[in-house]
């Protein structure tokens, strides 16, 4: 692909063979990826799999045990202070000063980045307008609801006009409306060329990212656009078909389906079962087999894998690999 010839300086982030060890424990194990400018890069993985560690390494908070990383073209190992000038960071606990007002919080972060007076004033006006904070300027940060705290925190992280923003679980504990509004805002900003590196546990958020990477116990096991991940051979092996079986008796159907020859895997999704079946398997046959065993079937239809399917498949496969390696 043409990717290989692209100058790494043009990427927002270019991480090569990142390693981070804590004593004997390897938290991040040979992780490489690229984030292009203007992307919304979703970084996913179970808790404790190394997401926050990677962010800390990329923001210059943690030294690398191995590998290298260029952030906005700057080496994080030697130039972390310049890196910090160019990036913004919002952690999941919205690091605001609760006893200061909204305006004072903005003022403070502006001064930290040593913006001159005129520019600070202009930036605060812009942020207030963009995030709709105007009615709350003189309110203490403690009195804001979760969604507004998050907007303020985002505003504080953007004051110095960073070209790259790290958002560590920005929507944890936020109501669905505020979540939707935040993502609308991210799309708008990314339209202006700002790059986002976002960690999340929400699959609907992952689907909205322009690029997704999945880290599992320190190893990067998937990296691509949501659509390209759906077509990975591990997720959708040759000669298989993904179907959705809608039934009022999901648990019984699942127990039964798992023992049918020709069904590779099956998982419950709400009122239905997502199953990976071999494509010689006739859908009408499947329905008959279920009915014969007294399981009512509302509908069986082919299904494109969701990102959740993708990560579940990849996790299973990786777990199996880890176990064989151990044995």
């Amino acid at each position: 692909m043409a990717n290989v010839t692209i100058n790494p300086a043009e990427a927002a982030i270019s991480a090569e063979h990142l390693v981070r060890r804590f004593g004997n424990f390897t938290a991040v194990n040979d992780v490489s990826f690229r984030v292009e400018k203007g992307q919304i890069f979703g970084f996913l993985g179970p808790n404790g799999s190394g997401k926050t560690t990677v962010i800390k390494m990329l923001t210059g908070l943690l030294p690398l045990s191995g590998g290298s990383a260029l952030v906005e073209g700057l080496d994080v190992r030697t130039d972390s202070e310049s890196v910090r000038e160019r990036i913004g960071y919002m952690s999941q606990n919205f690091s605001l000063y609760y006893d200061l007002t909204v305006a004072e919080n903005l003022q403070f972060y502006g001064r930290i980045y040593s913006l001159e007076r005129a520019r600070l004033k202009r930036r605060i006006d812009e942020i207030v307008q963009l995030n709709g904070l105007a009615p709350y300027l003189n309110r203490l940060a403690a009195q804001l609801s979760g969604g507004w705290k998050q907007r303020l925190a985002l505003g504080c992280a953007m004051l110095h006009e960073p070209t790259l923003l790290f958002l560590d679980e920005p929507t944890a504990g936020i109501d669905p409306v505020a979540r939707r509004q935040l993502w609308d805002l991210l799309f708008e900003l990314s339209g202006h060329g700002i790059t986002f590196f976002v960690t999340t546990h929400y699959m609907d958020e992952a689907e909205r990212c322009s690029h997704v990477a999945y880290i599992y116990y320190g190893k990067l096991i998937a990296d691509g656009t949501p659509n390209s991940l759906r077509e990975l051979p591990d997720v959708q092996p040759q000669g298989t078909l993904r179907v959705e079986i809608t039934t009022p008796e999901v648990t019984r159907a699942l127990r039964f389906a798992r023992h049918l020859p020709g069904i590779r895997s099956a998982t419950i999704f709400g009122q239905s079962i997502h199953a990976l079946i071999e494509d010689h398997f006739n859908l009408a046959d499947l329905r008959n087999q279920l009915l014969k065993n007294g399981i009512a079937v509302t509908e069986i239809r082919p299904l494109a894998p969701s990102l959740e399917d993708v990560f579940v498949e990849l996790t299973y496969k990786h777990q199996a690999m880890l176990e064989t390696a151990r044995a």
Binding site: L61, Y89, S95, Y97, F166
Partner: protein
């Protein structure tokens, strides 16, 4: 250099906002030390006087009564009760009702009249060494005095006449001795807690982590946090000194300006201790415990209560590493003895050196332990 202290102005501005937003904390941190001062200043008297004493006067004649009057007039003894037998005398001491028991034997006056040696038994409760010591000294001195006068009659003066003169604190008032030392402990207390809390609160809130992703430098952050509390600590010092001078009437013999000037390095030290505490503690309750750990040596090994010179060598050496030792030397020197910069510059320099060292250690700990955690 500008870069090294980056973020100082912003952090300073923000700390001032925190303090202004929470006047109650400020008020209490300023007033509680004054209350402690009142309690200690009025409540503690290191002079031993009016020790409860039980007397069994088996003689009861004029000579024996004169002896007891002399003991009473020494101000050291307060006759708690007269008893009529040895058993009651012993019981009063064992029960803790009296610290001293005096028994004048039945033949006291007779032996004196016949120019024979008369014995008086003095029982002393040794469980408090300073009380016991004072009781021994005073009773022996009165016995000696009584004997000499009987030998000399009214004939002449003593051959050797020792005239002790107490310098600096002629009335040997306890507040004069205690309060200059207490100043050191109170300042340490207030400033250490304020700085430690202001940083640990940011750890708990997660804002510290946020600050570390900005271009702010550890030194800029720490000094920005330190300076507002230096101002508060200095106001506290002014309050304490005015209280000491005008409520407790402790005269300040030296220069108040010099005292203020030499207090700056001490405040700097206690603020640095606060920062060091906060680099270790992750919660406010941890901070309280760690801070207390630093107060105890300051109270016991600094010479505030027990003179440093009488400590066992190990503790005497330790006392050189305790900032309060130097500062107590400074406060007592200026307030009580009217000492000047020529006498005290070494103490000031030592404090400044310790403060700088602590701040550098704290900044490094922040770099390595807090940021990289």
């Amino acid at each position: 250099m500008r870069n090294f202290f980056r973020g100082f102005g912003a952090v300073f501005y923000k700390e001032v906002l925190h303090v202004r937003r929470d006047p109650a904390t400020l008020f209490f941190s300023l007033v509680i030390p004054l209350l402690q001062m009142v309690v200690l200043g009025f409540g503690i008297d290191t002079n031993i006087r009016q020790v409860n004493t039980v007397v069994y006067n088996a003689d009861g004649r004029r000579e024996s009564r004169e002896l007891i009057d002399r003991l009473k007039n020494s101000d050291t003894f307060h006759i708690w009760r007269y008893v009529g037998n040895d058993q009651d005398l012993n019981d009063a001491i064992i029960a803790g009702k009296a610290r001293v028991g005096i028994k004048v034997p039945v033949d006291y006056s007779d032996r004196l009249l016949h120019d024979m040696s008369a014995q008086v038994l003095v029982l002393i409760d040794g469980s408090d060494s300073s009380v016991a010591c004072q009781a021994i000294n005073v009773t022996t001195a009165i016995g000696l005095d009584e004997s000499l006068r009987r030998i000399l009659q009214d004939r002449s003066t003593f051959a050797v006449d020792i005239r002790p003169k107490l310098l600096f604190n002629p009335d040997s008032r306890s507040p004069n001795f205690l309060l200059p030392g207490l100043t050191a402990i109170l300042l340490l207390n207030v400033t250490t807690f304020l700085t430690a809390f202001s940083i640990v609160r940011e750890k708990e809130r997660g804002t510290l982590e946020q600050l570390f992703v900005t271009p702010v430098r550890p030194m800029g952050l720490l000094l920005g946090k330190l300076l507002p509390y230096l101002v508060i600590g200095f106001s506290e010092l002014c309050l304490i000194l005015s209280f000491m001078r005008f409520v407790f009437q402790v005269p300040i013999h030296g220069s108040v300006l010099l005292l203020a000037f030499l207090s700056l390095p001490y405040l700097f030290v206690s603020l640095s201790i606060g920062i060091l505490v906060s680099s270790k503690a992750n919660t406010q309750s941890e901070a309280i415990q760690l801070a207390f750990l630093t107060f105890l040596p300051s109270i016991f090994f600094s010479g505030y209560i027990f003179p440093r010179e009488t400590m066992p060598t190990v503790f005497y050496v330790i006392s050189y590493f305790i900032p309060a030792s130097y500062y107590i030397n400074i406060t007592r020197g200026i307030i009580l003895r009217g000492a000047g910069i020529a006498h005290l510059w070494i103490d000031g320099l030592a404090l400044f050196a310790i403060g700088t060292l602590l701040l550098v250690i704290a900044a490094r700990r922040f770099q390595n332990k807090v940021i990289m955690a």
